[in-house]
Symmetry: C2
Subunit: 326 residues, 2 copies
């Protein structure tokens, strides 16, 4: 129909007019194509147009920025082995701050699933909201410490029920990729995630700020693993920090009985030993043969629960803030 | 020339052939345009192709990921008022960890300049390298505490020389936008940066984990500023935390004598008073009328310098790690 129309014009008006009309049609087509392409290929530009219209541009929505980041990061990242980050947590004054801070690190890592597991009987809406706002693929589960350990005197096996719950989730939901126990108060270099992602069995690397030694690491002598450098040996086969190793999901699936024991101070060792058969000479050494530090065992100063609020603040914003505070 | 060529063909072969040829040319043009557009509009796709070729895809370079993020974030963000983040720092066991962690938050904020200012006589290559890897626009300066305060007994005016150096840099290099004093151990919600960016004079908002009150904030009564809620008043006109306010660059430039005093505990108050004329009723109240917490004064547990290394580790990786440790 399109060609027939043009032929009719050409026959009546001559080739010159035909040429001009066809060129005009082409220009219009090219123009339309350019516009549709700009929107399709530059979703962030499209977002900006929407943002522009927000009242006086005073607030740029978090969601807008985060969607743009995720769009960029996820593009092409689906071929990377997935990373399952297991983060045990518990309600305390610093919890929201710590998880917010860690979320920013994880937002920069492509193809990642964040398993946030709280030592509690029910989830907390503030955390649910925080996780949603990050745009990270996540699950938020609860795993309270069994009552018998809560009652026990002395050091408690903190985070064990959480981490075992994480392992349970990984077993049920993952087939490939790598998992890593990442506490919410540690600090991580992005390079760590680039490297652990390709773990075949169990990879290890130095952790800074552990004991008075300042670092916990495998010792590399003549280019090979020789022993562990850690301020506390305790007769452990694997004297390493919880943040010092990552494990392949497939390797875990081949060891259906691997589990973390409720033994304060021996959680890492117990878990790594439960991955048997697995010997220290099989460790994959990351971080440039353990010469760089990509994770630090930073600890946050504990705060007492906030003091109670005087009645005179009843009809003020401080009264509302109190609901967020521990 | 293009039209003349076609006209010649039309004259010899008739309008049908002309029509077919022009359509073919259009198809070729559209095809070429599509290809060039794909590469231009999807730089991340182009980067992926480069990444693919890296040996066994084992290491995805930090720089690659970061460039993609920055490319996405900076796209269209040049219209946002710039943010100048002034971070005082000093050499200690936790320094690299804290700056790494903070950098991840700042990497997610568009149109930002990071002024990292160390209390030292010379810069540190580890920090220079870290800052370069973040891809953030930054300057790294030094500003040692004057000797007279170092010798003084009791509380020291920490971070004052750093922050004044930051103000000096802002005065010399910025004309618009907003600056904010962001310590390297605090935790920040991304929404904070969205909001402070549009400060006209001085904006304020709650800071969590400050004193036993658990929060420091302006008090809003009947929708208006009424007083300050802070665990330590100390006779201050502005009893607020260093992380609790942001200031417009233009407002600072109109107050050439504004400066932070070397008075431990009175740094915030002294600086805000030096912005005169400025009264508490002019404060712009952010964070949903100060009912949300977007910044926390988290403090990291201090670590002693790491113990010295036994000679037996001389030809191992631990010897090299020691150079990173404090």
């Amino acid at each position: 129909m399109f060609c027939g129309y043009r032929r009719k014009i050409a026959m009546s008006g001559g080739p010159r007019i035909l040429c001009v009309i066809v060129l005009c049609v082409c220009c219009v087509l090219l123009g339309q194509y350019h516009l549709s392409n700009s929107v399709r290929n530059n979703p962030q530009q499209y977002n900006d147009l929407n943002l522009e219209s927000i009242e006086t541009r005073r607030y740029v929505s978090d969601a807008g920025t985060l969607n743009r980041i995720n769009e960029c990061l996820n593009y092409g990242s689906e071929n990377l082995p997935p990373l399952y980050i297991i983060t045990p947590t518990y309600r305390r004054s610093e919890q929201l701050a710590e998880l917010t801070r860690l979320s920013h690190t994880l937002m920069l890592v492509p193809n990642l699933y964040w398993l946030v597991i709280e030592d509690a009987y029910k989830t907390n809406d503030l955390i649910t909201d925080l996780l949603k706002r990050t745009g990270i693929n996540h699950v938020y589960l609860t795993a309270p410490m069994p009552e018998q350990y809560k009652k026990k005197k002395g050091a408690k096996p903190r985070g064990v029920s959480n981490r075992n719950k994480g392992l349970e989730w990984v077993r049920e939901n993952a087939k490939t990729g790598v998992f890593y126990f990442a506490d919410d108060d540690n600090s991580y270099d992005l390079q760590l995630f680039n490297e652990i992602r390709f773990t075949r069995k169990v990879s290890m690397f130095p952790v800074g700020l552990v004991t008075k030694f300042g670092v916990s690491t495998p010792v590399i002598r003549n280019g090979r693993f020789s022993e562990f450098y850690d301020g506390w040996q305790g007769g452990r086969k694997f004297p390493v920090d919880m943040a010092g190793f990552a494990v392949s999901v497939q390797f875990l699936l081949e060891r259906p009985h691997a589990i973390m024991p409720y033994s304060p101070g021996f959680e890492e060792d117990g878990f790594l030993k439960s991955l048997k058969p697995f010997e220290p000479n099989e460790i994959e050494l990351l971080a440039s043969s353990c010469t760089k530090i990509y994770v630090w065992h930073t600890q946050t100063k504990k705060n007492e629960p906030s003091s109670s609020l005087a009645e005179k603040y009843n009809n003020t914003n401080v009264h509302l803030l109190k609901k967020i505070l521990v």
